[in-house]
């Protein structure tokens, strides 16, 4: 039996206190009926005796303490899922907003999910070709990986994410592929960019969109990524599809979380974010992966904008500790006009070593990757020195390194958002650029591979 309570005692920010309730459980979903008949949703944050603290998912405007009614549903927040979600658009709370028919759910799933048993995971090792050299060649993405893009305000992270969604493919041909896209507090224009890009390429038919725009209730953002991930889990682990999840922008999510935390007067961690931000982010990011008993996979690309381009800000910092690497965008490259403006040196894919090499990409991949990285790093150092002391102060070898760094940026990094390079093209380009340097500097590549692939002077 569902009871209704008219005992709302307090409303402050996103929180509401209800008194004199019985049998309410922690994390239960509730509904508030306003005097106007409008229904809003909420969730139990704390049970203390007969008092219940709930968090609203929508704004509290129009809420009336005396006349509003609260009902508790007896279960947690759930998302109705079905295969027909593909091609549909939902709001941040999982309700269809595309004007289409109501979804007939195959089942209702709790949006919090359950942790994957680490003993039941498969280690991600299937190479995904994104067609972007800086990712394929240097920071290889594999199926089941979570690889965020760290961006800043004004940088074209959306173009890169769309490029990946458009070009990503697995080498062994056709498997069932889907995109789940969650817009978390981004502007209409940015969301529209993604949607029209998906439409243009026809990808929209295999995409599920969850849209919470900047103008929607901030508090709804807490559930938006979880809705998206629940849909992704259903498609991946029950329908055996390979799902690419794009979450943008995690910074907005963390700010909504901070809002609730501050309203609860919790002891803040760094920069006012709650101490459990790490755990909270981890429960989202860790939902990526591959697991036993299912053919499908979830590959996740969260996008976050670093406030002031600061990588040590808690959001990118904690994200970096959970995800398996990061692609960092650079304002310097962007100003030079090099697209996609990936900052190669601090970018990293932790799972690359298992996804590359003979049988997966090519035998020379690991060696050339390390050689390109260290040569580019040395070239950058040489260039910095050159700025201070002039070219004459460099040794002849360092001068070549500086030349290499320039060519590397102009050709390898700067490919544009619409060029789709195969992994062979990327690797061959690497060899072509390495040929700027003397052969004796190729310390990180096995001699037999140098013999086989070297294109420079013998």
């Amino acid at each position: 039996m569902i009871r209704e309570y008219r005992t709302i005692e307090e409303v402050a920010g996103p929180l509401m206190l209800v008194k004199q309730v019985d049998g309410v459980k922690y994390d239960e979903l509730g509904e508030i009926e306003l005097p106007s008949g409008e229904v809003r949703r909420c969730r139990v944050l704390e049970v203390n005796g007969r008092d219940v603290l709930v968090q609203l998912f929508e704004s509290s405007a129009g809420l009336n303490l005396a006349q509003s009614k609260v009902r508790f549903s007896g279960h947690g927040v759930e998302l109705p899922v079905s295969k027909n979600m593909l091609g549909r658009v939902f709001n941040g709370m999982g309700e269809p907003i595309d004007g289409g028919a109501k979804l007939i759910p195959e089942k209702n799933l709790d949006i919090n999910g359950t942790p994957i048993n680490p003993a039941a995971r498969y280690y991600p090792s299937e190479f995904i070709q994104t067609g972007v050299s800086t990712i394929d060649g240097l920071n290889t993405l594999v199926r089941g990986q979570k690889l965020p893009i760290f961006s800043g305000s004004g940088l074209p992270h959306a173009n890169l994410a769309a490029q990946i969604a458009r070009q990503a493919k697995v080498r062994d041909g056709d498997s069932k592929f889907a995109v789940v896209f969650a817009a978390i507090g981004i502007t209409f224009e940015e969301a529209d960019f993604f949607i029209s890009d998906f439409k243009k390429t026809g990808a929209i038919d295999r995409t599920v969109l969850f849209i919470n725009l900047a103008s929607d209730a901030a508090i709804e953002r807490i559930s938006t990524p979880r809705m998206a991930l629940t849909a992704a889990e259903y498609l991946a682990f029950e329908c055996d599809m390979h799902v690419l999840v794009i979450l943008t922008d995690i910074t907005n999510y963390a700010e909504a979380l901070r809002e609730v935390s501050a309203a609860r007067k919790e002891v803040p961690g760094r920069r006012g974010y709650p101490g459990y931000l790490y755990t909270d982010l981890a429960t989202m990011y860790e939902r990526a992966g591959r697991k036993m008993g299912s053919e499908g996979s979830i590959t996740m690309i969260p996008i976050l904008s670093m406030p002031e381009d600061d990588k040590t800000h808690p959001i990118p910092d904690l994200t970096g500790y959970i995800t398996e690497g990061q692609i960092i965008l650079s304002r310097e490259m962007y100003r030079k006009g090099y697209m996609p403006p990936v900052d190669v040196l601090p970018s990293l894919s932790r799972l690359k070593d298992k996804g590359i090499g003979e049988g997966k990409t090519r035998e020379d991949h690991a060696g050339t990757m390390n050689q390109l990285f260290s040569s580019y790093a040395r070239g950058r150092e040489a260039k910095e020195l050159m700025v201070v002391l002039g070219e004459a102060a460099l040794t002849p070898v360092d001068r070549l390194y500086a030349k290499f760094a320039d060519a590397f940026e102009a050709e390898y990094i700067n490919q544009g958002f619409y060029e789709n390079r195969t992994i062979e093209e990327t690797l061959d380009l690497g060899w072509k650029l390495l040929a700027i340097l003397p052969k004796s500097e190729m310390k990180r590549i096995k001699p037999e591979l140098i013999e086989k692939y070297w294109v420079g002077e013998k």
Partner: protein, 593 residues
């Protein structure tokens, strides 16, 4: 004992408050609600107990029942631990997967050790023998590598009234001891031990032997002793996990307990899938045969993360008590500290620095102090060693934060990982300028006797050269490399060789991933032989650029990837080539003049 049953008053995330708990004990394990979630009492206020629950508490509400088990949080110790993977409160994850599928559901009750499996017990003692606590009653061959010693439990010495070899399940009685107070103690293959209590030993000894890791920057520059403590702080992407995995793979210990504490699920999977494939260079058997895994990944409940560290170290202590050298590797202690902080916040305690509780330092110290080299209980005077290595994940890579600082006050070895080295793909990214090991002196005798007389002076020279390089770099940045004297240029070249040809080590290479000590020594000799010869040539008028560009240096650079079995002959060839090329450089210089 009377069962204590209480009722829930308050639920706030992993914290539950129940009333009617006056007769329960502090730190008792309780079962919460219908789903019988596992929790632990962490505070008592009169009738009310604050309980931290090790599982997700969604769906728990006021009035739900809490039952105390009357026992503290304990682990089961016995054969079958090795090769297994457990969660933070020692539930077997493989078994759970077989039972409930690939996601973790709540309220699972599954014994840590397989109750059905039969082990062959070989008795060592006989009926009538007087046995003291810690004495070895017999053996079980747990894996091909580890012989499990069945010991008299602490405080249970007496006379054996029953013991026999045979096949037993873990819960079968293998021996009976008549205690001094007249009671009889039944010994099974399982012992239970509360995780928050350190297992007893006879005496602690100062560590005197290095734990050899095959990692050149560690063994040569910043060694850790068997029974020592170390920490690896580093920002994300600096290779903490790779360093930890390398240690778990190659350390010359008998057993490794790897605790994944609040880290990535895939990393645990990696260990789980990769270790069975790898061979231990010392025993020739699979590495999994000496590994116990504790996994509390970051998406698993936060309270169990706090317990996982204790679960891991208690298991390690148990094997130490058998006389083995054990290493505990915890990745990452920062996540553990964050779990403490979260519980502390929910308990509304007064926060210390950055919201961490004031008892953070003492808890950390309590963990690391359980490491050490000890004389075990028992009459045979066997010695065991437990090394503890913890990763630290400082926010923003800033090591002035409380967890790193508290850790540094306790541990003896500091391997500071550096993101700028990682960007240059210098791995392992251990910064040679700020890392340290307080064991260098203590281990010098062992190294002189077992590696080479001049090991300490060679490695000391490495550190000195690297320090000089950093001083010279300042000058180079200001006025350019041409302003340096040829001698200083040579120092830079030597330092570069140390960095690139010795310290850089590619973890994923079959040969380079592990370098035995004698080869490390030979490598250093080779590098310094180049420097010494080059300096001599310099004095004889050779050109510094020519010496820096000698083709033989490429051979030195590749020396580390020469297979360890037959490196000696190859190294001699390089040495001969080196001598020839330097002579030629001197000769050419003389001709020009």
């Amino acid at each position: 004992m009377e069962e204590v049953v209480g009722k829930i008053l308050k639920v706030s995330g992993p914290l539950v408050v129940a009333e009617g708990m006056r007769n329960a004990n502090m730190f008792d394990v309780v079962r919460v609600g219908e789903k019988r979630l596992i929790g632990e009492i962490i505070e008592m206020h009169g009738d009310k107990a604050s309980i931290q629950v090790y599982e997700e508490t969604a769906g728990v509400g006021r009035g739900d029942i809490v039952v105390s088990t009357g026992e503290p949080l304990s682990v089961e110790l016995g054969p079958g631990l090795i090769t297994n993977i457990y969660d933070g409160i020692q539930r077997p994850l493989e078994t759970i997967r077989e039972k409930v599928g690939s996601n973790l559901t709540r309220g699972i009750d599954e014994p840590a050790l397989d109750r059905a499996r039969v082990w062959h017990f070989e008795a060592e003692k006989k009926i009538g023998d007087t046995v003291a606590p810690g004495d070895v009653l017999g053996f079980v061959d747990e894996t091909e590598v580890i012989r499990h010693k069945v010991m008299v439990p602490p405080k249970k010495g007496g006379t054996l009234v029953q013991i026999a070899s045979g096949d037993f399940k873990v819960t079968d009685i293998v021996a009976k001891i008549k205690l001094e107070n007249g009671k009889t103690e039944n010994v099974t293959l399982i012992q239970k031990w509360p995780v928050r209590v350190a297992r007893p030993y006879k005496e602690k000894l100062p560590p005197a032997e290095p734990m050899i890791t095959g990692q050149r920057s560690i063994d040569a520059l910043f060694p850790i002793a068997k029974g020592g403590t170390a920490c690896v702080p580093g920002p994300f992407g600096s290779g903490k996990t790779v360093v930890q995995h390398q240690l778990a793979k190659w350390s010359d210990v008998d057993l490794v307990v790897y605790i994944g504490c609040g880290e990535r699920g895939n990393e645990m999977t990696d260990v789980l899938r990769e270790f069975p494939e790898l061979t231990d260079p010392r025993t020739g058997k699979s590495l999994m045969e000496r590994t116990v895994l504790i996994a509390n990944t970051s998406d698993m409940p936060v309270a169990a993360r706090e317990a996982s560290i204790y679960t891991g170290i208690t298991i390690a202590e148990y094997y130490r008590d058998m006389g083995y050298a054990v290493a505990v590797i915890a990745d990452s202690t920062s996540r553990w500290a964050e779990a403490l902080r979260e519980m502390s916040g929910r308990l509304e305690e007064m926060p210390g620095e950055e919201g961490y509780p004031a008892y953070l330092t003492s808890r950390l110290a309590g963990f690391y102090e359980r490491a050490g080299k000890v004389v075990c209980l028992g009459s045979d005077g066997r010695e065991g060693a437990l090394s503890a290595i913890g990763a630290v994940s400082p926010q923003g890579g800033d090591i002035s934060e409380p967890v790193t600082q508290a850790t540094l006050r306790i541990v003896k070895v500091f391997w500071g990982l550096d993101s700028s080295l990682a960007y240059r793909r210098h791995f392992p990214a251990i910064n040679w300028l700020n890392s340290y090991s307080l064991y260098r002196e203590r281990l010098s005798d062992w190294c002189a006797d077992n590696i080479a007389k001049d090991w300490m002076s060679l490695t000391g020279r490495c550190l000195k050269t690297l320090q000089e390089e950093s001083d010279l770099d300042e000058i180079v940045k200001l006025v350019g490399v041409d302003a340096l004297s040829p001698e200083d240029r040579m120092t830079l070249e030597a330092a570069r060789s140390i960095r690139e040809d010795f310290l850089q080590q590619y973890a994923f290479d079959d040969i380079d991933g592990y370098t035995p000590l004698d080869k490390q020594y030979a490598l250093l000799k080779l590098i310094f032989s180049y420097e010494d010869r080059a300096r001599k040539a310099l004095a004889q008028g050779a050109n510094v650029q020519t010496l820096a560009d000698l083709p033989v240096r490429e051979m030195i650079g590749r020396a580390k990837t020469i297979p360890s079995e037959n490196y000696k002959a190859e190294f001699e060839k390089i040495e001969a080539e080196l001598a020839a090329q330097i002579d030629k450089a001197v000769h050419d210089a003389a001709k020009e003049n």
